[in-house]
């Protein structure tokens, strides 16, 4: 459609005095250029300053780890002799913890995010939940430790009495696992993982929500217009499109659980132990010892950050090297998880044909 012509005649702007484009010709421009340069220098400084602190820290840790840094550190358990102390129990403890934390938090977190973003109608209650999720993410993890102690550990204590009474798996003679012959503890892996789930859940939900929000709504509308149901639209369009973001966000927020010591100590996790959950001290035994695998979630545990904390408190100065080596191993594990997140993101987005 052609627009109607304007009634007034077009006025021509007169060209005024010649303008100089030479740098620094104008005082106010000089001042603005100066400020702009100062600003970029400040930004550069704060970036490199934090990087420098990180490098200093890492160097200090590597420096102090000399004396214990050796491969046998990851396949020997803790010892009162700093020459022999290793992280095997903590590594396995953290492995089981993160495994179950992920198993609990991923379905619950992604499910909640899908509900909040895709299904729930905008009501006061839903807005209340959405606002308070960020508040929950800010709650110190020790508070979740207290909650976990009161709820999960108490529940485990009740179960323990039940199991010790040998009732559980003899009902109707269906199960003859004889699980009661294995000791069950109230400060077990599952209790720890459930507590850590509480710690990471707000972040998991928030990152999944963020990825779902970044899916263009035109995709949903187009799918619904083709006669897809809401469920088909979520399952076939929204979740695949959000999957790279969801998987990365979820893995990264779950991996935060690895560094948590406070809530686990609160629950009564072991500090000094040579005990590996379910006595599974090598990946091979995950396949060859199924009964022990079943038992591991109900066994006592320690975790990497707890061991590091414990070593750093030892009076024997030789344990400083042990603690530093522990930190290096923890950092390597965290970096590996981040690498896995990047690989998963790559494969999840390759399935999409953007």
């Amino acid at each position: 459609m052609s627009s109607a012509g304007s009634d007034t005649p077009t006025s021509h702007r007169l060209i005024s005095a010649p303008v100089s484009f030479v740098s620094g010709a104008d005082r106010s421009i000089r001042r603005r250029l100066f400020l702009s340069r100062v600003f970029s220098w400040i930004c550069r400084f704060v970036t490199y300053a934090s990087l420098a602190v990180l490098i200093v820290l890492l160097t200090a840790i590597i420096w102090s780890s000399f004396g214990r840094l050796a491969f046998d550190f990851v396949y020997s358990t803790n010892s009162s002799n700093p020459k022999n102390a290793g992280m095997l129990a903590g590594l396995w403890g953290s492995f089981w913890l993160v495994l179950f934390t992920a198993l609990f938090s991923i379905p619950v977190g992604v499910g909640s995010a899908v509900y909040l973003e895709e299904i729930a109608k905008d009501s006061f209650f839903v807005r209340l939940i959405k606002t308070n999720l960020s508040n929950l993410a800010g709650v110190p993890s020790i508070v979740y430790g207290i909650l976990g102690y009161t709820v999960f550990r108490s529940a485990a204590a009740v179960l323990k009495v039940w199991f010790d009474g040998q009732h559980a798996f003899n009902i109707m003679g269906l199960f003859r696992l004889r699980l009661h012959k294995l000791p069950i503890y109230e400060d077990n892996i599952l209790v720890g993982a459930l507590t850590l789930t509480l710690v990471v859940l707000p972040t998991v939900i928030a990152s999944a929500q963020e990825s779902l929000r970044s899916v263009p709504s035109s995709l949903r509308v187009a799918s619904l217009a083709l006669g897809a149901t809401r469920w088909q639209t979520i399952w076939r369009q929204v979740i695949p499109a959000a999957l790279p973001g969801i998987s990365t966000g979820v893995i990264l927020s779950t991996s935060r659980a690895i560094g948590e010591a406070a809530p686990l100590i609160m629950l009564g996790a072991l500090t000094i132990t040579t005990m590996v959950p379910g006595n599974i001290d090598s990946p091979v035994k995950l396949i060859t010892r199924p009964m022990q695998v079943l038992h591991a979630p109900l066994d006592q545990f320690t975790a990497m950050p707890i061991e590091i904390y414990d070593w750093s408190r030892q009076t024997d100065s030789q344990f400083t090297a042990v603690a530093a080596t522990g930190i290096i191993v923890l950092l390597i594990v965290l970096l590996s998880i981040n690498a896995v997140a990047m690989i998963v993101r790559h494969y999840a987005s390759r399935r999409l044909k953007w």
Binding site: M1, S2, S3, A4, K121, D122, P216, S218, L219, V221, A222, S223, L224, A225, L226, G227, A228, T229, Q232, R236, Q237, P240, A241, L352, K353, W354
Partner: protein
């Protein structure tokens, strides 16, 4: 009222007779006394419009006049907007689609929609076209392959994409994407196709192809098209409906609306005096 010369109206695309007497066709859609509200704000006032079967009806009018809202009530896409509600009656092939018993999923299969912005799914060309039949439960690979081929042929895209059906639909040009969206809509086997400014984001050559496509499709489908482009409305439609401020001002054969409308507002709009 000064008559507008019919010479100023561009020629129609093949397959569209703009002087056709629509009363001879049976009605595909009948809207009766339709009021539409976004919350408290009323955007459609007592709209009654009959869309004849196997024809093209263009909805024109200035921005915010309610023509897109009206279009989206025809397959209940407005249900997605929270706080909106609708009063009145819309009969699609004799059934009142405002009835709460109506399944919107079945309705939207029957009344397809093409949007202003082409929205291919981030999937292959094949999977895009096969999406509608798949969500309806079709799993047979050869049935799907036949359907994809026939729909891409109907939307005049087959020759351009037949060798790369498994490549991403996002790699197609804007005009190709829009024809893909039309093919995708055809794949659900609708009787009625709603088009919301389908060519407004396209270059003139692609627009031309879409318009010719509309001319071909109207032999078998009932098409309702919203457009801001007056020439486009006059080229592709049998019937034109002019909306202004939520009121359906005038409906009639396209040639009549563009050469001798009964209402002053219509004439001012189609001659470009406002809007």
């Amino acid at each position: 009222m000064p008559a507008i010369s019919s010479k100023s109206v561009p020629p129609s695309v093949a397959g569209v007779d703009r002087d056709l007497d629509m009363s001879a066709h049976s009605a595909a859609i009948q809207a009766r006394g339709l009021d539409f509200f976004y919350g408290e704000h009323q955007v459609l006032f007592n709209v009654s419009l009959t869309v004849p079967e196997r024809s093209v009806t263009a909805l024109i009018g200035p921005s915010g006049c309610g023509k897109s809202t009206f279009l989206r009530t025809l397959n209940r896409m407005n249900d997605l907007i929270e706080g909106s509600h609708c009063v009145g009656e819309i009969l699609v092939e004799g059934q009142n689609i405002m009835d709460p018993a109506v399944d919107v999923v079945l309705l939207r299969k029957h009344v397809g929609m093409v949007f202003q912005k082409s929205t291919p799914f981030p999937k292959s060309i094949f999977d895009n076209v096969a999406y509608g039949p798949r969500v309806a439960g079709e799993k047979n690979r050869s049935v799907l392959a036949d359907l994809v081929e026939s729909c891409l042929k109907k939307s005049a895209l087959w020759d351009e994409v037949k060798d790369r059906l498994t490549t991403s639909a996002m790699a197609l040009s804007g005009g190709q994407q829009q024809r893909l969206c039309i093919a995708r809509t055809l794949a659900t086997n609708p009787h009625i196709i709603l088009m919301d400014e389908p060519a407004s984001a396209l270059d003139p050559a692609s627009t031309d192809r879409i318009e010719n496509l509309i001319g071909e499709l109207c032999a078998n489908y009932t098409i309702v098209i919203v457009t801001h482009n007056m020439q486009q409305a006059s080229r592709v439609s049998h019937q034109t409906a002019f909306f202004y401020k939520g009121i359906l001002v005038e409906t009639g054969p396209t040639m009549k609306i563009f050469t001798g409308p009964s209402e002053k507002q219509t004439e001012d709009y189609v001659t470009g005096r406002f809007g």
